[in-house]
Subunit: 266 residues, 2 copies
């Protein structure tokens, strides 16, 4: 049977985030990428920052229809960002999405932040199932940040990826966007993940009744290679949008080679 | 001042897990590695399987002393496995540990399981802070699994790592142990992470009162490269203990090279 115009489907884009379905970042993202396909949103019903690639094994999940301007369909789900992708792929959607998009995150996912990031956990979940996936993050933690610039950049990147869907050199991208107006952005750099760590300061408070101490996880980012010219953190500081191609293979191949040479456990 | 015998400290080993401080796996582990240093346990007060590298940003954390045979000190903490490492390093311990150990996990962390694993999230957190770290997992999900073999193997590996602490070719290891008696294990293989995915089956149940559907995340592991001879999954099937050196750098360097060659976003 010859393909008729009726049977040609628009690309399907699955969207999630980790700040929750009511966050400004995901609303601005969907508005900006609307032209590139049918949009289905499956996003957490509450903020899930710092949830990394967590999945919910000890509790059931619920999801329900949610109102969402600019999306074709939207659902809020009780689970983590990675749960949202799983339940979308295996329960909600009736066809395989062409692209998974997560974000726009309120805050940086450059450097070591990627390992804690629910935004990137969701994007990597898409990639595990062989679907090209992109996480977008704006370098501002404000819930009312100005997403105009980040949404414009995100839309341009989505357009470019959609044009080459059949021949992408990557499966997953971590895109970070400086908190600057579009005309002050220096350009886009493909960059590796800079090495860094959070030096934590557990702030102690006391329960008002039983006086037991409790602790808030707060900390300060510490760049472990501030002199390196080619890290994502460095480029972001200089005003570039960074694009990090991401793998879910955690193997340290350099260490593996050395261990084999040294005959560890032979 | 000359160092006297009094001032020589035994190595400090920080231990956590994701099945919770009361799980059999962590108890058997601590018993087995007791000879190699002072042991401080900081572990979740309840099961935290599937919590990946999650950190708790939206709630405070509590910890309190817990009874633990064979450990020098032990604390149970309300957070995730990665939280436990952070609060241990930055609040509880008065010196830097020489080694972080996580496990023994009840269940495999080979192949794609590493990305969902709270056990490995904790080990990777140690590595982020420059402390050699090992996650141990036994290929049995039973809460009452026989850990004799896994504990013996774990102790041997800890001993070997402790002997070479100053010159390790890796910062983090993911060790998986088949559920076999020691004399049936074939040996130890340094192995890369095999490619795989979970094909999920969201089992639907209904709330007894309001009849709303809810879903349990269950699934089946699908090996994406069953013919490859050198993956962790393959070696485990053959009866080998696998040792995967792990990095927290998620950059896909192969994709990065291709993107630069193709001039993406130039």
């Amino acid at each position: 049977m010859e393909e008729t115009e009726n049977t040609v489907q628009r690309p399907l884009i699955l969207v999630t985030n980790d700040d929750g379905i009511f966050a400004k970042g995901i609303r601005e993202l969907v508005k900006a990428i609307r032209p590139y396909g049918d949009i289905v949103v499956v996003a957490p019903d509450k903020p899930q920052s710092g949830k990394s690639h967590a999945v919910t094994l000890d509790m059931p999940l619920w999801y329900m229809v949610s109102k969402f301007d600019d999306a074709d369909r939207a659902y809020k789900c009780t689970g983590s960002p990675a749960d949202c992708i799983k339940i979308a792929l295996f329960r909600i959607l009736d066809r395989r999405p062409d692209l998974v998009i997560s974000g726009i995150n309120h805050g940086s996912n450059a450097s070591i932040n990627i390992v804690y990031s629910g935004t990137m956990g969701a994007a990597m979940e898409g990639a595990i199932h062989g679907i090209p996936s992109i996480g977008f993050s704006l370098l501002s933690f404000s819930s009312d940040a100005d997403f105009e610039s980040a949404a414009t950049v995100s839309a341009r990147i989505v357009e470019k990826v959609m044009q080459r869907l059949d021949n992408l050199p990557f499966m997953c991208l971590n895109v970070n966007i400086p908190n600057l107006p579009v005309d002050e952005l220096k350009g886009v750099k493909v960059a590796r993940q800079g090495r860094g760590e959070w030096i934590e300061d557990f702030v102690r408070h006391f329960h008002p009744s039983n006086k037991r101490p409790y602790y808030w996880l707060t900390g300060e980012y510490h760049d472990l290679e501030p002199e390196s010219p080619d890290t994502d953190s460095r480029y972001l500081d200089e005003g570039y949008v960074t694009v990090q191609p991401v793998t879910v293979d955690c193997t340290d191949y350099g260490a593996m080679r050395k261990m084999k040479e040294e005959g560890w456990w032979d």
